[in-house]
Symmetry: C2
Subunit: 609 residues, 2 copies
């Protein structure tokens, strides 16, 4: 017989006599049923249209005459005796949840793959000496489910839990596996952690899986930086040091644990109530989390050991959450387009959109994806450290004292983060500076700095005074010695400009190659998502001015913040979203730029401002 | 198209173009293929009747003209181009293996659920940057298999293994999961351990899973005895001591590890080549191995937490074999009829026989199963410690100096184990003694000892001199003080006789109730299997004389030694045999004697000799 649930519209076929509670489980409609279907709590009220069998004593106790006349029934008592329309009133309906990423919201139904259920397991008797496990399975199947798989830990806790509250238990299921069993109706927290494991920064989001609410955020510098600033130097560490891989894994696991502890402390919840975790990161970060050697990524043909999603119990990785929590390291697209890009696509919905969009996630590497639900192409380029402020003569991370905005009109004006005396320049400041230097004719389109005379000729004596010449090398004092912290200048050298040119050239070349691959022009792009911290702070007009990206005449430019982290959250809160990552990996075509002959030409052409 | 393999007779349907090697895998026919199907080793020769495509270069290199004329092909090169009959010559055929248990042999096909395969995985290229895992899966699927599940450990070893020998690897699979990957063609040992975990003694059998050969046996006293001699006292220990469960698990795991080390040392093989393990034991022993609290077994309604078979990776249990070896704790029938009984049934084949058989496994508890493939009933009785020589005034285990055979003709004659001076009497000796005491009229049928005068009247003065009277209590000096070790007698008291009466009465009553349940008489039983050490040493005629079991006029009496252990070996060497345990558990009907009103009557009646 057919049972339709409203408002979700879910439709199931069940055999006559099935309880409505069992039918709701089959339909994926979550009803409140704290008593485990024994008819004692009266919470699983539904409004039924059709024949649902005679009223039971339990229903007569729990429902008023008015309710009965209005068609109210208890789902655990009513049975399917005809085709039915079942309306589920407020209070026990599946929630939907919005994941915000700066300029972006994606709304999904809250359907985490970690869930809680209450169950009444009738005690065994001398006449039916079923094992505890068999009794549990039987009660579970009578709710309309298949056999449970049961973790060893849950099996060990089973006998005490079953006997403490006369067979009433609360189950915690992860991907259908029973990982925890608690006596009685347990209303303690059911938590999950979503991690974005960046090469530089690790961020963890603590989520309540029963409401979808974010309870806390915590982050740390990735302690792997002590073994190398970028992915390649960390891989070299593995090759050079016998237990290097173990050191790197220990470092990331340690940071994940400190973040978990911090987030749980902030929210006032115990870490062993974290039953599920997702992690996105570039492909190397995913390998290191799993303790898998990523060295093959660093040499041709640049293949990962594993690009597939991997699920591992927390205790196998040494994570200090519930020992049998399921940890999902999400799938990667290729060796250099990782699960973090999958997260960006999931959060921006590029894979489901009809319009064409470009997502740019710039860190030490730049990953770009272009396309729509029809076709989505991706590439990665080694942007170098310039955008992160590293390896520049006066570069620094986007921290206190870093110049992050610059303007030039007759003289130079800048802003520092937290308005402290200037100590250096960060990536977004550098992009601003170069854009302004081009407009002020301090720089040629080739990237060469003019000499002071040229500026004097233009009547820009204040600017001319900032040009330094050291032999054949020129430099520009953005901050004069007397203006700087500790009396030191912030000086941008010709070599720094070159670094930026290499970085922006690689990104720009990647974008152009993606456009070529799809056979489309700049005007066809409807949206540009700028992801990551750099994408957040960069001024789009400066990025355009230096040619980091072309002008997209019809595109809306949307900074989306940590979209990779939003993807991790979505995959934690919604099994469907997690399943979408599989489609994303299948859909995305990866372009290996190093084997494309046109890339070198495009790269050279893109270095010009 | 249909392919039939001879001599196994296996038949599969495959699509045109499938390689014969892939078809053989599907058919469960194991062919030698050390090169992983690349056509370089020439070992996968088969004789083909039908169209198997044109000869390849590899075949022309490896096969002589005569062989080609005789229909020889290489299975990795030939493809299915019509329905085929494929004969597999000697050398790569599935072995069969015989498991001996004293008077019993069961022959099964060698088809362990741990197996080794070689595979060639073509390296990834810049054009096809498949992950190592994806490349492995693809190569595996091309052999005709489904996706592999891959353990975390194997994933970690994958990149090095794939690159060391140009993509040629050896896989170790347990239940279809890849748990180890080794570079090249690895011909190292593939081992398994089968354990019989007795309340008193633990025995481990080390088997070569490629040949089925037993490489070593090792055993230890179960160190749990320090926490209690029998199951009930160990359960009391758990209730009494906070970490009692952990102590008991640590004890059994420690003993398993010492046995594994010992057996591997005997055989000169490394313990990390042990990839699979089976364990049988009574239900409590199975719980303790898993670290699951068995306390509910000791109180009504006597239910286990888990009676189902459980498979756990070795490292979860702290076992010092390959960390991802699959450990199978086999299924139990009920709380007091455990996996050891399942092992006995598997080894004796009671569940497959048309004739009715009775199996008796006597230890601290007696478990009995009666029936045939039609119907099999089982029960358990608390035999008490008399059969193990414990709790008797002069009782001892069957060890050096224990009297294990007795005869009386005018005076008493006895034999000790290892012919050392007598220190006490063991179970089989006690049964002999009582049988002889009955014949010599030293004992009445009621179990009461006659006084010395009665024997003097019979003219048995030597025997009369052995009767001691201490107030109302009588005793019998089997060994006079001057004959004994250290000048001490071996004296059997009236109370010792009572202990034996209780023990044999419980066993006998169980047997009679099983016969009643099946509605059959003594004459209907065709075989009686005596399992366990006690069953091995007992003289059947003495067991009959004291009425431990009735006379079965048509039955062959077969001592089968450690049949439980043989069952564990079978389940290790043969996946089909392991699957049979599921059928056994379903087939066997357990009778809970404590709730049968007729049991007490039967028990009382059975105490008389």
């Amino acid at each position: 017989m057919r049972v339709k649930f409203q408002p979700s519209g879910a439709l199931v076929e069940v055999s006559e006599g099935t309880s409505l509670l069992a039918a709701s489980h089959q339909a994926g409609v979550a009803l409140e049923s704290p008593c485990g279907g024994r008819g004692t709590c009266g919470k699983c009220r539904v409004i039924v249209d059709g024949d649902a069998g005679p009223l039971t004593d339990a229903e007569q106790r729990h429902l008023s005459l008015e309710e009965i006349q209005a068609g109210y029934r208890l789902a655990c008592q009513a049975v399917v005796a005809s085709d039915l329309l079942v309306r589920v009133p407020e209070g026990s309906q599946v929630y939907s949840v919005s994941i915000l990423s700066q300029g972006l919201t994606r709304e999904v139904a809250l359907e985490p793959w970690v869930r809680r259920a209450t169950l009444y397991v009738p005690p065994s008797t001398l006449e039916d000496q079923a094992s505890d496990l068999a009794a549990l399975q039987k009660a579970w199947q009578q709710q309309g489910f298949d056999d449970l798989s049961v973790s060893l830990g849950a099996l060990r806790r089973l006998p005490a839990a079953l006997r403490q509250d006369d067979g009433l238990v609360t189950l915690i299921l992860a991907d259908g596996e029973l990982i925890e069993i608690l006596p009685g109706v347990d209303e303690g927290p059911v938590l999950g952690l979503a991690y974005d494991i960046g090469t530089t920064t690790i961020v963890g989001y603590l989520l309540d899986l029963t409401t979808g609410r974010e309870l806390a955020v915590a982050s740390l510098l990735n302690p792997q930086t002590q073994y190398g600033d970028d992915v390649v130097s960390r891989i070299q560490h593995i090759t050079a040091v016998p237990n290097g891989l173990q050191q790197l894994q220990d470092a990331v696991v340690g940071a994940i644990n400190r973040i978990a502890t911090d987030a749980c402390r902030q929210a006032g919840v115990p870490a062993d109530c974290v039953y599920g975790m997702t992690a996105v990161g570039n492909t190397t970060m995913q390998h290191l989390l799993l303790g898998v050697d990523p060295s093959a990524l660093a040499r041709s043909p640049y293949v990962p050991v594993v690009a597939e999603a991997v699920s591992i119990p927390a205790q196998r990785l040494g994570l200090a959450i519930h020992p049998e929590a399921h940890v999902w390291a999400l799938a990667s697209i290729a060796g250099w387009v990782g699960a973090d890009t999958v997260g960006v696509i999931l959060a921006t919905g590029q894979h489901q959109a009809d319009e064409i969009s470009l997502a740019i996630d710039i860190g030490t590497n730049g990953e770009m994806t272009l396309g729509s639900r029809q076709r989505l192409v991706a590439c990665s380029t080694a942007a170098g450290p310039a955008f992160e402020g590293a390896h520049l003569s006066c570069g620094m991370r986007a921290a206190s004292g870093a110049i992050d905005q610059v303007s030039i009109d007759g003289d130079v004006h800048w802003r520092t983060i937290q308005n402290t005396p200037p100590r250096g320049i960060c990536g977004s400041g550098l992009v601003d500076l170069v854009a302004q230097m081009l407009d002020a004719e301090i720089l040629r389109e080739s990237g060469m700095m003019h000499d002071a005379q040229h500026l004097t000729d233009l009547g820009q004596s204040a600017l001319a005074a900032r040009i330094r010449s050291e032999g054949r090398h020129r430099a520009f004092d953005l901050v004069l010695p007397q203006e700087g912290a500790d009396g030191r200048p912030v000086r941008v050298s010709q070599r720094d400009i070159r670094e930026l040119q290499l970085a922006k050239g690689a990104i720009r070349a990647g974008i152009e190659i993606l456009l070529d691959e799809l056979g489309i022009g700049h005007a066809d792009v409807a949206r540009v998502y700028l992801a990551g911290a750099f994408g957040n702070y960069i001024r789009p007009e400066s990025a355009l001015r230096i040619g980091l990206m072309p002008a997209f005449p019809n595109a809306e430019i949307v900074p989306v913040g940590n979209a990779a982290g939003s993807g991790a959250k979505l995959a934690l809160l919604s099994q469907s979203a997690r399943d979408e990552t599989r489609d994303i990996v299948r859909l995305v075509e990866y372009l290996e730029l190093s084997i494309l002959p046109e890339f070198q030409d495009q790269f050279a052409a893109s270095m010009v401002f």
